[in-house]
């Protein structure tokens, strides 16, 4: 055992939410200068645990020892006073204020703005976090915003920094920069609690890993020596299923969707407009669109699905028919299906039953002949989706809100596939779902493409894109790079495009 006490030690932390147990007797020790990974699937209890450490939630039982002393962390202010900083997955910055103003607000007390800006430059230079304190946040990229959040923590000289899934919004190159900064911080003695489910990152960065499953600590390991497969098995408590892809597939067929010269200003003053987007999605292929969130993904999907109309009808064609001026329902009737990014409130209505949710995107007139809903057929349709996609649900009458994220997503994808589409748009389909469900979703997309349906997959997860796509294009600042076959490109090349390097420069690099 280390002679110095751990910086943070948790003993028997337990937290219930109603009948569900989020944390069940969790023990954890983070040493000074250690980068400690907290590893687990969605719903394993990672977020609850760090909320308890940061004083956002109170534990039902158990104790927290800080530098060997028992403490009660009643709120985030108390956590910061101890020296605990946290960078959340979702940033809390005011878009219309400058970097320095945002940080001054976070510090709470009145600040001399000039002195603060100088201090900011100083700290930013020391850790290689290039950010101009005078810039307005809405001008910043997501990676830069994260740096502002990190700077805000660093100004308070934390001795424990909690990072919640920090790389989900970064390009591979930005991730490297973040890791260099974190290693340097750890080298100076700051402890880091790093939450992730990306195994390669944890192997590259962390000294020790604690694995959570269903609210309990199931293993501790050294990620530098453990294999990713072993860690994944600890995480999901079983062996990892593999997606199958028939190598001898027929080459992709004629285009089912062609986009030409699609430009659209964004409705949102801080959104990203689309600039001269062009691509062709072919029957039977999976076309991936990579990119950091906020580079026009929302706008592109809205323009393709019909929620926003293009200026010209021929900017978007489905099976040769110009649809740029047609709305959502008309495009659906031509065979378009869409799996949106948000599941509840958009892809499905939480309060309605699964059967009623199946009606949301139905184009089959038999489900509602003459405007009267046929509940028997709907229930049968929903039951078929539940069975075919192994959705864990009590039945077609269960409210959508009662399903877990992964099962809801399987239902939505199953419903869209069940409507027999000609092409499917899928936005971040595995975001926030567990490994098992993600595998099932990948398999479903692969199988769908094998039947000749074109699949457009918008994702931030490069591993996912390289695993199942035939071609990949990159969306950056509203521009789309020409799609390239997966075999002819690399993660690094795509990463450079995600960071805004022009294709020519990317080839040179």
């Amino acid at each position: 055992m280390n002679p110095v006490p751990p910086r943070l030690r948790l003993r028997g932390i337990t937290k219930h939410y109603g009948a569900t147990i989020a944390n069940d007797g969790i023990d954890l020790a983070v040493l000074p200068g250690e980068i400690h990974a907290l590893l687990g699937e969605n719903g394993a209890g990672k977020s609850t645990l760090v909320k308890i450490i940061y004083g956002v939630a109170a534990p039902d039982a158990g104790e927290i020892l800080w530098q060997g002393r028992a403490v009660a962390i009643s709120d985030p202010n108390a956590a910061r006073a101890l020296g605990i900083g946290m960078v959340f997955q979702h940033f809390s910055l005011f878009e219309t204020l400058t970097v320095a103003e945002n940080i001054a607000l976070g510090l709470g007390t009145r600040q001399d703005m000039a002195a603060l800006a100088a201090r900011l430059r100083d700290v930013a230079a020391r850790y290689g976090l290039a950010v101009d304190p005078g810039r307005h946040v809405h001008h910043l990229s997501v990676g830069e915003r994260q740096r502002v959040e990190i700077l805000r923590c660093l100004l308070q000289d934390p001795s424990l920094l909690i990072m919640d899934e920090p790389t989900s919004v970064l390009t591979p190159q930005e991730t490297e920069g973040l890791f260099a900064m974190l290693r340097r911080l750890a080298g100076e003695g700051c402890s880091i609690l790093y939450i992730s489910h990306k195994l390669e990152e944890i192997q590259a960065l962390c000294h020790r890993a604690t694995v959570l499953r269903a609210g309990r600590v199931v293993a501790e390991c050294d990620p530098r020596t453990a294999t990713p497969a072993a860690m994944a098995e600890m995480m999901i408590g079983g062996s990892l299923p593999q997606t199958r892809r028939d190598p001898g597939r027929a080459p992709a067929g004629p285009p089912c969707m062609v986009v030409r010269g699609l430009s659209l200003p964004s409705d949102d003053p801080f959104g990203t407009g689309l600039r001269d987007i062009a691509f062709a999605l072919r029957d039977g292929e999976i076309l991936g669109i990579a990119g950091v969130a906020g580079n026009g993904q929302k706008e592109l999907l809205a323009a393709l699905s019909g929620e926003t109309l293009a200026a010209r009808a021929d900017a978007v064609t489905i099976a040769g028919r110009p649809v740029g001026r047609l709305g959502v329902a008309a495009r659906r009737r031509l065979g378009l299906a869409f799996v949106p990014e948000e599941r509840l409130g958009r892809g499905a209505v939480a309060e309605l039953s699964l059967a009623e949710n199946a009606l949301l995107t139905a184009t089959d007139p038999d489900l509602a002949p003459h405007g009267f809903i046929c509940f028997d057929r709907l229930r049968r349709f929903a039951a078929d989706v539940i069975a075919a996609f192994k959705v864990v649900a009590p039945g077609p009458d269960a409210p959508a809100g009662s399903l877990s994220g992964g099962n809801m997503q399987k239902f939505i994808i199953g419903r869209e596939i069940g409507h027999a589409p000609r092409l499917l748009l899928a936005a971040h389909p595995t975001w926030g779902v567990d490994v098992g469900a993600a595998m099932a979703i990948h398999q479903a997309l692969i199988d769908l493409a094998a039947t000749g349906v074109g699949v457009l997959l918008v994702s931030e997860d490069l591993a996912e894109l390289f695993q199942i796509c035939d071609r990949i294009a990159v969306l950056h600042a509203g521009r789309l790079s020409p799609p390239r076959p997966v075999a002819e490109t690399t993660v690094d090349a795509v990463g450079l495009l995600m960071g805004g390097m022009m294709p020519e420069a990317a080839h040179a690099a």
Partner: protein
């Protein structure tokens, strides 16, 4: 220790059903206390309020008569609220419906045939729709919220009615009273039970219950309304038109309120007067929520609210209490209902004062 409200992990369906009953019980208790404070015997006053109106056939007929406009207005309001379209101005659509239908009756006078009454009803519905269409247009074209527009148009409608009965439509033989001539017998709705005032309007109101249920529960248009109300994002995703839903809901509720208006003036009133509604259009908002926005629930809520109107009149006579007491009890009913509704989504937790262990 202190009390704190904590969100429930899932809504409590039993409370959703119990809340209206709890609200009625608490409002009754509150009314009793109010009567005692005003120096009346609370039990006698409550008896006069709730039971006396029901002890005769005529009383029951009056109950149906008063429930008719409440039911028609409330069903329209409830269907709108399901889509998050808030028609607060059923009162105005009621009045304009009465003016349009009544105008038809006055125009044809004794020259009307069998077609006069259907034409009056159609004109009433069209008038209510037109008044609500103003709000629908302003909402879909300029994003002006329908709560404000429909509410303000109610006051405009009152002024229009006042101007007509004081001016161009005033009965020349009416000793300068602000009223129109009485409608011809052929322009009055047939009475259902001889010797009472309950008329064909009650049948329309009763029909609106199964039709409303059918629309909301089994029809595609009702499904769209529910999706728009529950999850606007999902409605856009599904391609359901928001503007179309706003128009549909406002035209439907406006039409129903207009029907209620013409049934009132072609029924018990028989002419146009400066005041033709004791606030039916506004009370119907309470009725809609008390009935859980469901047509069958609204039927019961409308009967209860009608009883309050009848009982309030009875209280004036037997207990010499002002009519405002009815308004106070209506307010208490809504207040307690909204209060009880909090517990559908939240639970009360007693938080001990002792700090967390250190």
């Amino acid at each position: 220790m202190r009390l704190s409200l904590e969100p429930r992990t899932s809504p409590w369906p039993l409370m959703s059903a119990l809340a209206p009953l709890l609200a009625v019980a608490l409002a009754t208790l509150g009314a009793g206390i109010l009567f005692a404070l005003m120096g009346r015997d609370p039990l006698a006053a409550l008896h006069a309020l709730f039971l006396s109106p029901l002890d005769s056939v005529n009383g029951l007929a009056e109950l149906a008569l008063k429930a008719t406009p409440l039911l028609l207005c409330a069903i329209g309001i409830a269907i709108g609220v399901r889509a998050n379209v808030w028609n607060i101005g059923a009162e105005g659509q009621f009045i304009i419906g009465a003016i349009c239908g009544g105008g038809v009756a006055l125009y044809f006078g004794p020259d009307g045939g069998w077609w006069l009454l259907p034409l009056m009803l159609l004109a009433g519905v069209a008038g209510g729709m037109a008044w609500a269409a103003v709000a629908a247009f302003l909402r879909t074209r300029f994003n002006a919220h329908e709560i404000l527009v429909t509410l303000m148009l109610s006051y405009t409608a009152v002024q229009v009615l006042g101007w007509l009965v004081h001016g161009p439509w005033q009965d020349p033989e009416g000793f300068n009273f602000p009223q129109t001539p009485l409608f011809e017998p052929g322009a009055l709705l047939p009475v259902l039970i001889e010797g009472t005032r309950v008329n064909l309007g009650a049948v329309f109101a009763l029909l609106s219950v199964p039709l409303g249920s059918l629309l909301l529960g089994r029809m595609m248009v009702g499904f769209r309304i529910r999706v728009v109300g529950l999850a606007p994002g999902a409605a856009r995703y599904a391609g359901f038109s928001e503007a179309g839903t706003v128009w549909f809901c406002l035209l439907l509720s406006g039409g129903l309120a207009g029907l209620a208006g013409i049934c009132e003036v072609a029924g018990p009133i028989g002419q146009l007067l400066p005041v033709i509604s004791p606030g039916y259009g506004f009370a119907a908002i309470i009725v809609a929520f008390l009935g859980r926005l469901h047509p069958v629930g609204i039927l019961f809520a409308a009967l209860l609210m009608a009883l309050l109107y009848l009982g309030g009149e009875g209280l004036q006579i037997s207990q010499q209490l002002p009519l405002a007491v009815t308004g106070v009890i209506q307010g208490m009913l809504l207040f307690f209902l909204l209060g009880a509704d909090v517990f559908i989504g939240y639970r009360v937790r007693i938080v001990p004062r002792t700090p967390r262990h250190a």
